[in-house]
Symmetry: C2
Subunit: 159 residues, 2 copies
């Protein structure tokens, strides 16, 4: 492995670790436990799971991996706050969607060449990317990893 590859593997390890920990926490939760709030009056675990699934699903087109699998989640779990709209799916279907999206992303990331990691993502213009080539796909994956960590810190408060 050359230096460039080792750098991308190091970042990808972090994605896998953070997703793996969140997933492990989820596996042990019943449908009822997923309805718990992280703190009084705050988001339910179910909402956090829907939110993370929708945000990760958006990465598929953003990083040129493919079409979205669950665009219908956005309105309930991104656009609106928790409990504004009824849940769209059962807990087991939502867990399945979460895993499907992440499995697809991780498989794609494992196949990225260094040039693909450093390619521009779908939300930055050609002009802006020339000015700041750090607005690349790796930056998106590192940001989303931190986003999962942010909500993981909240999720542990419910237990």
């Amino acid at each position: 492995m050359n230096k460039e590859e080792l750098l991308t593997v190091t970042a990808l390890n972090s994605w896998k670790l953070v997703i793996g920990r969140f997933d492990q926490g989820l596996t042990n939760l019943s449908e009822e436990q997923l309805q718990k709030q992280i703190a009084p009056g705050k988001n339910r675990l179910f909402y956090l799971l829907g939110h993370l699934t929708a945000v990760h699903d958006r990465m598929l087109p953003l990083l040129g991996i493919g079409e979205r699998l669950y665009p219908e989640l956005d309105e309930t779990y991104i656009t609106n706050p928790d409990r504004a709209l009824p849940d769209l799916v059962s807990a087991s279907d939502l867990k399945k969607a979460w895993r499907e999206v992440n499995t697809r992303l991780t498989a794609a990331f494992e196949g990225f060449t260094v040039t693909e990691w450093l390619a521009k993502h779908g939300s930055v213009s050609e002009e802006d990317f020339v000015k700041d080539p750090a607005r690349n796909r790796l930056a998106v994956v590192i940001a989303r990893t931190n986003h999962v960590s942010f909500h993981s810190g909240q999720a542990v408060l419910a237990s």
Copy 2:
């Protein structure tokens, strides 16, 4: 900038962004507000700040940057849970320590060559590092960035 450098700059941007956001949140908090808990019966913001400062201070020797500045924080903010021991310092001194440690770390990271990013950190043995060269300094910085994100997700609940 070559590809290797661009990869490390991308990861370093994430560190700066996450630290900067946490810092911005802190700046607006009074001594009294720092005593708030993130949720009933959970850690105070003050404890989180002490905890993150101590953990980051440990990075100085871990990453070969220098001696620790505030080793006395560990017992109160790492070894023991919140409120087990009285606070060691005032809020303004703790904020100052937090900023001093991070300023020192960020300056060192900005000077790291790619080879230094990929060097082993202080908690991995030579044997283990040969087996898994992804246990390098970059891995530590990405992990600590996610650790700040984890507690940032909690800190926002107090407001």
